[in-house]
Homo-oligomer: 488 residues x 2
């Protein structure tokens, strides 16, 4: 080593460089093929994984510059407000209600679904399956065929959960009779709603609608929800921010791993549940509720989602802010909403999920990315907090090292570190919070999302789980719109 | 850099070495003060943290050699048996009983305690406090003074829990009327027993014996234990190996952090507990049991301890094995037992615990290291699995990086990696299992132990938690005894 060093140190500045001399050392930025060519000739090359800003897209670079230098908008100040509202949020579980009575704008012929707006003819298989199941569950149709006719007839109003202060996992179908968790952001007063989790496998949200699925939904409506409503009333409002902070110390990330969260919910409510037996509730029915929660580690997902929704919703509509306050997928489109751009969706094609499959299924069976559960990532948990949940890789694939790397990367596209949600293994660093549209476009780093995988056909159900990246164009389109609105 | 390198590269082999030349680079093994001296003179020194075998103790090195070369004993083969019995163990919770009826050798005037054998006059403050409380609880004394007289009278038989297939946290006092968890190693049939956990703060095991403490013990005896006994009977035997495997994926290490374990126990039994209301148990009493467990994250400790005890007990008494099958402290002495050396204890002075104190307390208040809870480390969890529980550093001190380092170091004194207990962040590596007496003496690495800190006076209670190292001499004494027995 020192001999080589000496030779190169002694070479005068004016000497011509021999490209393939063994003295030569190269630091290569960007395209690795150039480095490979040099290595073939024995040249020592250090490859730096550098990308030009905005992937070298001159138009995007110009837009970023225009936004940065515009006197019409102070993005930093606006984002500071948005982030502070996200950090100050206190998601609190305050009640259980029925969608029709509780969710704003709900009617008997409304079907809410996940993701950005979509019409029946463009819906993917699992969403169609869930709509079919929802219509039969509501008594609006008796068979699959009847339900399909009704769905196509124009008599049913399809609308995104997000347009009704709600979120729904996977197909995200919510109909009038379904019970919902009611969340309130105790700091800002805004509310959010979500259905109850049905478990894994053959369930409505994965597009299954068999008798078993519908019977379970009816049991949730007539027994589980009323019993949990009473237990919650006895318990009083539950500080979900505290619970989420704890689960991040217990190997959950709040999206695809919810074993700790479900455990904490059970222990929080168990004393109140058993007391219901003293006031006339059949102990066997209470036991069935506890058994159901114990057997379904995703029970907590439908709590972490509305907790996240009412947290980020407080940062909606802040003039000049580039903070992303909504990401959602309907299985056909992936869409985002940006704080400073009102309620407009920017969409791109839903992506394929990379992950692990249940026995008997493979990538050829998979629907595309679907569900509102990415609201957890939008709020800085889920994939963004994967380092807190290394055991999740057994469910979604990859290695624990990947889980750490994913969280570390998310700090590059966020504006703050959460002061309550902390990751022990990263020395209690706060989770990456407040996704900045500008940073995504500039770095080309896309939000990391943990997700389930539905079968592409209606009526089947869950086939796996994995990681997914959203389509890049929706972020670029949003940045264009932002520049147009704030710099023209 | 290259200039210096060049000069030293050009120096001929025959040249005399100038000790303080700037060309000189030194790799220093061992004593760092030599390196410091060189650094003062500008010499570049790489310090290697090397220790001579057995800390340079020639007698120990000779003993290790004698054991290794002895034709009378095949330690590797014996240890392979011992380790395989530990790995094959299936700790299972099978019942709840009363100490008098259940624990072998128990009598109405027996008081079991933690650690190696000890007489009343040598007991530390918290153990005396717990003995006083135990005698009052049993109705054998009415006041502190009466209890102290009785304890000193010779009418009470003091005996280690370990001599009765039992383990007890901190003072470890077990008396005749106390309810116990009954564990069975489903593979080998041996049993282990432990009292119920009372919570933190002012509790018997930390030496407190006020009315509040005794009332709680009575409630545990008359309500908690009978109710849990019925729930367990309805549930059926609980596979504790599976539960411990899970808690290691949920941020617990099974000794000083038991939040996940306690949660899993609650969710496991909650459905069966609520069903008791249908057969006449007052729901309010069941609710109180659930509230108590919910409010006491150490509830699981008294389950992980007997689970560990019946796991390692299956490796007792294997001729020629250097595997440590018992570590325990009574607050005065720390003691170990070695598989190939029968039931003999090797003891040294109990150590001071390094840790964090509750508000209002400091190191001057602390009793020395005490309790049988180090059975968890003996079985390869607790401090040995600290990497699984980075959040524990908030309770015992240090940083998450320390937690990782401690687990990694324990691989150097153990013989195997557990095939069921795995640590996600270490890429699912099995916990370091099967502590080898030889390796401790050879490397000088002592077992890492997480522990609580009791007040040194009787009657006070818990003052903190931390990490502790056992005294080195007991391992050296055990090695001497081993060599004497197997090589002379």
């Amino acid at each position: 080593m020192s001999a080589t060093n000496t030779a190169s140190a002694e070479k005068g500045r004016g000497d011509p460089i021999d490209l393939f001399s063994s003295d030569l050392k190269v630091v290569n930025l960007g395209l690795e093929s150039f480095a490979d060519n040099l290595r073939v000739h024995g040249v020592e090359v250090v490859q730096v994984d550098w990308k030009p800003p905005a992937g070298g897209d001159a138009r995007m670079v110009a837009l970023l510059d225009r936004i940065a230098s515009s006197s019409r908008v102070d993005v930093e100040a606006a984002n500071a407000v948005a982030v502070s509202r996200i950090l100050k949020g206190k998601p609190t579980l305050v009640g259980v209600g029925t969608a029709l009575d509780t969710v704003p704008g709900m009617t008997k012929t409304t079907v809410l679904h996940s993701g950005p707006p979509i019409t029946w003819d463009r819906m993917c298989g699992p969403m169609r399956g869930a709509v079919i199941g929802g219509l039969i569950y509501e008594g609006l149709a008796a068979t699959r065929e009847e339900a399909e006719r009704l769905a196509a007839s124009g008599e049913i109003r399809f609308d995104p959960c997000h347009h009704h202060d709600s979120v729904g996992p996977m197909a995200g179908v919510m109909t009038a009779s379904m019970p919902v968790w009611i969340f309130e952001n105790a700091t800002f007063g805004n509310r959010a709603y979500c259905t109850f989790n049905e478990g894994l496998g053959k369930v409505l949200r994965y597009g299954a609608f068999s008798r078993e699925v519908l019977d379970r939904l009816k049991w949730i409506e007539t027994e589980l929800a009323p019993i949990m409503a009473k237990a919650l009333a006895a318990h009083g409002p539950l500080d979900m921010k505290n619970i989420i902070a704890q689960v991040l110390q217990m190997g959950d990330e709040g999206h695809n791993r919810n074993r700790a969260g479900t455990s904490l919910i059970i222990r929080e409510f168990a004393p109140h549940l058993v007391r219901l037996a003293a006031s006339g509730t059949d102990p066997e029915k209470i036991a069935k509720v506890l058994t159901f929660m114990h057997g379904n580690d995703h029970f907590f997902l439908n709590l972490s989602m509305p907790a996240s929704k009412c947290t980020v919703d407080a940062a909606r509509g802040i003039e000049g802010s580039t903070v992303i306050i909504g990401m959602a997928r309907n299985g056909t489109d992936f869409g985002i909403r940006v704080s400073g751009l009102g309620d407009r969706w920017f969409t791109g094609p839903a992506s394929r999920v990379e992950g692990l499959y249940l026995p008997g299924f493979g990538p050829e069976d998979a629907a595309l990315d679907i569900g509102d559960s990415v609201i957890t990532e939008t709020a800085g948990i889920g994939g963004f907090a994967m380092a807190a949940a290394p055991a999740i890789v057994q469910f979604v694939g990859g290695s624990p090292e990947d889980a750490l790397a994913i969280t570390r990367r998310m700090y590059e596209i966020t504006l703050a570190e959460n002061d309550v949600y902390r990751i022990p293994i990263l020395d209690f660093r706060g989770t990456p919070t407040g996704i900045d549209l500008r940073k995504i476009v500039e770095t080309g780093i896309l939000p990391a999302i943990n997700t389930g995988i539905a079968h592409k056909e209606p009526g089947v159900g869950m086939v796996g789980a994995g990681l997914v990246k959203p389509p890049e164009n929706c972020f670029r389109d949003a940045l264009s719109a932002f520049a147009e609105r704030y710099t023209n």
